[in-house]
Subunit: 650 residues, 2 copies
């Protein structure tokens, strides 16, 4: 590997502080090439990095270190940007950043005048051009989310130290002795750590490992345990909860478990669970306990599988919608369920994992994702983080398909979000032969000469789940058995258009149906798996709500559906949806299927990201400020648009 | 009252921000009259305030607001220096302070160039001359400690707000709605507050009071409760624990209770309690529980007396020595008790009152004083704060007399501290007729023609407490019955020098004694209250240890005992000591008794101060950095000095 160009003869990081020759006047002189553009706290500023030659736009006030980190540009640092390791030296080539107090201690006046600053303290309040010296250490990185490269800088850090024993000439307190040996971090001790410190130091012969989470010293462990640090990312869904155990040293997932949310007995969706708390004063406590039990069971499972002691897990992250987040915290969700739909808070405080009933390290921290609104929750913010919705210049549409459907549109400058009430059709609700995506559910339907079905678990079909429903409707439209308005064609037209399928078009009671699967020996259509006229209407309503949502967002940005460069289908349902079928029924804009991606469990990916890099947390917080929420329910043109969207395209 | 001179035509606070005309170049130009002296982080900088014309010296980096507050100069502020209320506008007339980001938002370029800054963000890194505009509100102040004037700015704050109910057009989260209405504070919510928020907001018709402690929102209460905020200051002594309930709105103490520390059964002094933890693995938990029970009982007592609901107490402060602090926190004290005498930490973390077993508001905070060393603990730091040891230019000596005697010497520039092992004599230990300062204890002794005694509780004398012991020895020296070496004179000399008292000089067994009180009908001297030759030796050892301590500190500062301008006798024993007797036996330097003050319970006063003004906490932290600890035990000249100090002066 060749030496990076900047290393020889180039600027390189300057030597240590040279305070003697320091003169204030020199410091406050703006560099000759200083930019003139100054921001007032709104809008964006542009940072250009050399030699990587990448430019990013960030809200003013963001530090140079953060701006670089979020955009995958690595700057040397061992403290992760806490202002303690003094390794993140960069040079401001154009534009100006006032020197911080630490800059004045870290650089000579000449260096300060030449633009050298510590990146983690340098707030960008105007456009800047910044030179990043070559790295002295190569940072580890992990790929998560939708092609996001995350530089591994977990908030959980460990430092192994070998300390001198105290003497009468060196009576430093235990904590001082420990922290003096850790030159790049300066954490505040938890009482728990302080209680353990005298005992562990002496039991461990003054060779101990300090466990630091963000800015807190949470424990000291005897000996060298630096290779044991773990975290768990939770996707706390209304239906399904997924836990991923991460090795924070490598960024590798070690085990993934999922299970049904134990809150299920209180109702299948958020509204029924909110209603439960309104009817029964004990329900909030029981729902909280059920969420805690779910997280606890998953924790035990992933730890056992990976042979990790739960006390080696020092942090967890939870991505859930606003109702799931309120319930797991024990906050009354009633205001979320009744107009005007208000959250208790947008950004939950950092709490202890034990506050969420998660049995990991007793002082392990729990990070909950912030939410944009009662119906665009932390799961969506996590998903936006995982898909990089704020850092891609393409026009991208993010759709999390479900009972409540969240839609985000971004062109890299503006980000809009909304929620559309799609109803339960995608989860099999209100569909005659509907069922959840479980064993026996038809998940793929192909209609050609005959009907081909793909069934979960390769068993006999028992019903139709959401993706199968979308497929069935899309294929019948294509086959000419459903017209553009969503009505089954007459028997005459069917016999002419698709003679091989016509006999499947029949009636159950008064209603026309299309039989998808007839078990052997069954003659009564009512005992088959079928798609009814009313099912088609349900799906039309659901997809029209979604299409109205994204078309209104497109209008807000003054772009056309055809301008969309990528559609990300997220959520447990969205990921299984056939892009071609989604286009055919008009659930997404009419684009090449290559532009329509199943993004997978992006909420869980977002939760992993904030555990792997504590800079990504700041990214989530920034997202919250950048996204504009568009409320659909009070728009005068919603109904018009909705009716327009009921029909199938083309 | 006339308008302050500066108000008319004078500079006054500038109007609001004028961002439009902002130009960066102007901002970074140093004012024309900028000082040239720049500090590197060591030493002190001088701040001169006009129009009050007061000058103070502070460590570089201290904010102008803090420097003014600690010195009783009031600057407008409602947020107490958190950088949120933007009221603390001052003008830097000479010297220079780089504008902060908030300055740039709060002032026009012209104002910035003229030197206007927000005082709470302006770090003094060089000598400054600062103009403080007249106050728009007169701050409340309280006198505490030894003549210290404290501007009332408790960390506990309440804000009553009347909020608009949410609508579909205004779906702000509850927390945002609340904090938007509080323009001068920006606290982070505790989970407890967040859980209560939705319910209290709606139950209180959106008229609620936010309870903020430092930077945390700890609760919301329905209606206006702003006149109900209380705190408890604890002096957690090894023997006696004192609780003072404070009204934070007025600074007034509402109730004071004291009781014996419930740890007494484990031993009378810190060493026996530490030993207990070394012998019995359960002892630490039981000592912790005993301390908690003591604090809980006092809390119940003061709250009941003042008719304050304990949940209206949002903060407590605890001043205790290093061992008491460790035990109340549940930290193993063993390293404090064995060489090399090491603390677990110097500055304990802020914990919850509930962590100390104090049953106040469930999220009430507990502040524990930092310590200088294993034997110069938080009680002494509190005492130094209360006596202003760091802000008086006089040469002052602070002596906390007890089994372990702490000594502090300051000349306003340097502060030295040490601990002298005085032994148990002052608490009546190792004294034949010694007893604690309880009912029946002789506390004052006057020897003239006859012996006059003052007895606690005005009952028959039962023994001799520390102040009585010092008096008895001092008076017998004065009467010529004890010689300068501490030996009782011969019967012949006694008969000549003090014929009326000579018959009191007798023997108990082989030992010479002086009978202080002979109960009626008693003839055997062994059944009287007497002072023995060995008692005198015990006192000589104790006072020599103390005198060696302060004389070594005086040598370090290169000053003479006669240069001392004030001696403060602190602690429960020191406060009862007769200054004249203390001089006569050489326990303090030979000064006019007018210069020797009983300072009272200064540890408790210090605890009150940090509750009344959260700036004083920073003062305590600063003290810790400024004081130099002088270890006596490893000094080669200690024994020589000690022997020199055994005799009585004159």
């Amino acid at each position: 590997m060749t030496e990076p160009a900047g290393r020889e003869g180039g600027p390189g990081p300057p030597p240590g502080p040279d305070l003697d020759s320091y003169r204030r006047e020199g410091l406050l002189e703006p560099p000759a090439e200083a930019g003139r553009q100054v921001h007032d706290g709104t809008g964006r500023v542009q940072l250009s990095f050399v030699p990587s030659d990448r430019a990013v736009r960030v809200p003013p006030g963001v530090t140079v270190f953060d701006a670089a980190s979020w955009n995958g540009i690595a700057i040397d640092s061992t403290c992760g940007g806490h202002g303690t390791c003094k390794k993140c030296k960069v040079r401001v080539l154009a534009g100006s950043v006032a020197p911080s107090r630490l800059d004045i201690r870290s650089f000579s006046p000449e260096q300060l005048r030449a633009g050298w600053r510590l990146a983690c303290l340098a707030q960008a309040t105007q456009d800047l051009r910044v030179e990043v010296p070559p790295l002295t250490t190569r940072p580890k990185a992990a790929t998560v989310g939708v092609g996001r490269q995350v530089i591994l800088r977990p908030a959980v850090q460990k430092r192994y130290v070998e300390l001198a024993e105290p003497t009468l000439a060196d009576q430093r307190p235990d904590l001082t002795r420990l922290l003096d040996a850790i030159d790049d971090l300066d954490p505040q001790p938890d009482l728990h750590a302080l209680r353990r410190l005298p005992t562990v130091l002496r039991a461990g012969d003054y060779r101990v490992t300090a466990v630091i989470v963000d800015e807190a010293l949470v424990d000291v462990e005897p000996g060298d345990t630096t290779d044991r640090r773990f975290a768990i990312a939770f996707d706390l869904g209304t239906t399904t909860v997924v836990a991923t155990l991460l090795d924070l040293g490598t960024g590798t997932p070690l085990a993934v478990h999922s299970m049904l949310n134990r809150q299920q007995p209180f109702g299948g969706d958020v509204i029924t669970r909110i209603s439960a708390t309104m009817l029964d004063p004990d329900a909030l406590d029981r729902l909280r306990a059920a969420a805690h039990a779910t997280l606890a069971e998953l924790t035990a499972g992933v730890c056992a599988e990976a042979e990790v002691d739960p006390t080696e897990v020092y942090e967890v992250a939870v991505a859930g919608n606003a109702t799931m987040t309120a319930l797991v915290l024990g906050i009354d969700p009633e205001p979320l369920g009744v107009a005007p739909f208000v959250m208790s808070c947008s950004t939950p405080p950092v709490v202890l994992a034990s506050d969420l009933g998660v049995p990991v390290h007793p002082r392990g921290r729990a990070l909950l994702f912030p939410a944009l609104g009662a119906y665009v929750g932390g799961d969506i913010v996590a998903g936006m983080l995982a898909t990089g919705m704020d850092r891609d210049k393409r026009l991208r549409l993010f759709i999390d398909v479900g009972t409540n459907c969240e839609i985000v549109l971004s062109d890299g400058r503006q980000i809009l979000a909304t929620a559309a009430p799609a109803g339960p059709a995608f989860e099999g609700g209100a569909i005659r032969c509907g069922m959840r995506a479980a064993e026996g559910a038809i998940e793929v339907v192909r209609v050609g000469e005959d009907v081909e079905l793909q069934v979960i678990g390769d068993v006999a079909p028992a019903g139709l789940c959401g993706s199968g429903l979308v497929d069935a409707v899309a294929e019948l439209v294509k086959a000419g058995l459903l017209d553009a308005t969503g009505r089954f064609v007459t028997d005459e037209v069917a016999a002419e258009t698709a003679p091989a399928l016509a006999e499947r078009l029949t009636r159950v009671g008064e209603e026309r149906v299309f039989v998808l699967h007839r078990p052997e020996g069954v003659t009564d259509p009512a005992h088959t798996v079928y798609l009814s006229q009313r099912d088609v209407r349900e799906l039309q309503f659901a997809k029209a709500a979604i299409a109205t949502g994204w078309s209104l967002l497109l209008e807000e940005l003054e772009v056309e559906p055809g301008d969309v460069q990528q559609v990300l289908l997220a959520g447990s349902f969205g990921s299984y949806l056939s892009p071609a079928s989604a286009v055919r029924i008009g659930l997404v804009p009419d684009l090449s299927v290559l532009r329509i991606l199943s993004a997978g469990n992006v909420a869980g990916e977002g939760a992993k990201m904030v555990l792997l890099s504590h800079r990504e947390r700041a990214g989530a917080a920034t997202l919250l400020e950048e996204v504009r929420y568009v409320e659909l329910s009070d728009r005068a043109d919603f109904n018009d648009k909705f009716v327009d969207q009921l029909a199938f395209p083309g």
